[in-house]
Amino acid sequence: MDQYLLKLYVTGRTPRSQQAIDNLDALLKDGSHDHYRLEVIDVLEDPQRAEEHKVLATPTLIKELPPPVRRVIGDLSDRHQVLLGLDLESVPDSEGGDAND
């Protein structure tokens, strides 16, 4: 059961792309948001999906579920802004389960 559906658009395997992935991983782990599914999309490999989702800036993180759809751009180093942008701050911390299960 995926409570959160997250999509992260990056451009190639650049340090910045990796930075965003790492930052997001850490945030999801620390925040114990255990029910989520994350998909990483490389716009160089799948530009059509970037077109469909109107992604211009990279990295772009889109929270598709639960509604409303929200998007955050940047390497996600500003944790506060990420949580704010995704409407995640209202999610209560749980007992620190492993987010990567």
Binding site: D75, S77, V82
Partner: protein
């Protein structure tokens, strides 16, 4: 297939936009980007969209439209009135949008980013449809969306480098704030400096005119100066009016187009010269419409077009009935057409485009336009002159025999409105006037000039009845009385 070689080894790419190939000496630099800069409302989007439309319609060239401003749905709707079936072309793989229009909600910024999806999306669209034409509308918009100017500059630089690499002939639009100031806002011309087209929407007197000027074109030749252009549904978009392309001195024929009235033909050495342009000038009520109607019905088997700016079609039909002229019968047979319009309903450029379309479609042999004076009042002097040059050139190029009418303000005739400019374009001038003789006011007709003919030089009286015009004897009397109207 649409490429040709211009000067300096740079190929030219024919756009298909009416008039553009002439002023650009063959089209846009092939495989390169050209900047189209203009103030808001100058027609940048429609001009660049038409570049794609012409490609699809005339050459089967697929195109990509990158929109930074309006979303694709709005663009499809906007251009529906021009009969541009963008949605269908998308379905056929001839048109693709790259939608970079701003989101309603600004995304939260959480760390460093760049515009990494810009190039992949554009390149993907170009490859997907096999685009030969690309439009980027408009390039400066990113500066107002993102505060990091360095990032935007870098992205735009990369974009223009990618356009060169792809070798797709491209129009890049940019906003200007002044009609005669810097080329564009945000210094975007640093990325596309080689070729620049300026569109203007300027106030000329109290009228607005649209013009197009090629500022430079990658070292290849092009025409200089501002050219009027029109945007209309009839022309399905933009038409540029290439004035200097116009050859005014094509030889007129020596054949004659009869008025169908022997005395009138006799005054003109047999009738009006075919393929020539004649002017009938005179004050109100002297019989300009009468002469036009005689001319159009002079040979019932020839196709005739009446362009009426003074009276409605019903009135014109009734007038002709009253003069016993078969205007109505010819119209019913389809050999005569009346195009009547209020001058004020459109700008001169739009009238011109409409008339050209009517001429191309109906293919008349004779045309009468009644009157130039009605059109003169809706434009500036310059706009009117340009209209007239372009119309006359089109009529001559089609081999049409033309009669134009104009009002003269004073009752004696003479003082032809816009005399110098109109008369230099016409081969024949017929002057109608009032004259006094033996204490009576009479109407008189004289052939003032007739290129290459030995015409009657007498001032003749004429009368009008239910059988049309009757030309009488030369008016007798002292010269002074003949040429003047001494009583008023």
């Amino acid at each position: 297939m649409t490429e040709g070689t211009g000067a300096a080894g740079v190929g030219k790419f024919a756009t298909g936009i009416p008039g553009f190939e002439y002023i650009s000496d063959g089209g846009l630099p092939a495989g390169r980007a050209t900047l189209v800069a203009g103030s808001s409302g100058s027609g940048k989007s429609i001009f660049s969209a038409q570049f794609l439309v012409a490609g699809i319609q005339q050459a089967g060239d697929p195109g990509v439209f990158v929109t930074f401003e309006e979303p694709p749905a709005a663009i499809r709707d906007n251009f529906e009135s021009l009969d541009w079936a963008i949605g269908e072309w998308e379905a056929q793989g001839l048109w693709a949008f790259v939608d970079l229009s701003p989101e309603e909600e600004q995304p939260e910024v959480a760390g460093d980013f760049d515009l990494g999806a810009l190039l992949p999306r554009i390149e993907h669209a170009v490859n997907r449809v096999g685009a030969r034409r690309l439009v980027i509308d408009s390039i400066g918009t990113l500066y107002s969306q993102f505060s990091d100017r360095h990032m935007v500059r870098r992205a735009l630089g990369q974009l223009m480098a990618a356009v060169r690499r792809m070798g797709v002939t491209t129009l890049v639009t940019a906003e200007r704030t002044e009609e005669y100031g810097a080329v564009a806002r945000f210094e975007v011309e640093e990325f596309v400096a080689d070729s620049v087209v300026l569109l203007r929407n300027i106030l000329d007197g109290d009228k607005r005119r649209r013009t197009l000027e090629i500022l430079k074109m990658r070292g290849t030749s092009h025409q200089k100066g501002e050219y009027p252009f029109s945007v209309s549904a009839e022309a399905e978009g933009v038409s540029i009016i290439p004035l200097s392309a116009i050859e005014l001195n094509q030889p007129a024929s020596t054949e004659r187009a009869s008025f169908g009235v022997p005395e009138l033909d006799a005054m003109c050495a047999g009738g009006l010269l075919r393929r020539s342009v004649s002017l009938v000038a005179g004050p109100t009520g002297t019989g300009k419409s009468l002469l036009s109607s005689h001319f159009l019905t002079g040979a019932p088997d020839e196709r005739a077009l009446l362009i009426a700016f003074e009276e409605g079609s019903d009135q014109l039909r009734r007038n002709a009935d009253g003069w016993g002229l078969p205007l109505r019968a010819m119209e019913e047979r389809g050999s005569l057409r009346i195009e009547s319009a209020y001058p004020e309903t459109a700008a001169l450029e739009d009238h011109l485009v409409r008339l050209k379309n009517v001429l191309d479609e109906f293919r008349p042999e004779r045309v009468a336009l009644d009157s130039l004076s009605a059109l003169e009042r809706i434009g500036s002097d310059r706009g009117f002159r340009e209209f007239l040059i372009a119309l006359v050139a089109h009529l001559r190029a089609q081999g049409i025999t033309t009669l134009l009418t104009t009002n003269t303000s004073n009752l004696q005739g003479g003082g032809i409105a816009s005399e110098a400019q109109v008369s230099s374009m016409t081969d024949t001038i017929l002057l109608l006037r009032y004259a006094e003789q033996a204490a009576q006011v009479k109407r008189a007709l004289v052939v003032l000039k007739m290129r290459g003919s030995d015409q009657d030089k007498a001032v003749r009286e004429f009368t009008v009845s239910d059988r049309g015009i009757r030309v009488g004897e030369p008016l007798q009397g002292k010269g002074g009385t003949l040429l003047g109207f001494t009583g008023v």
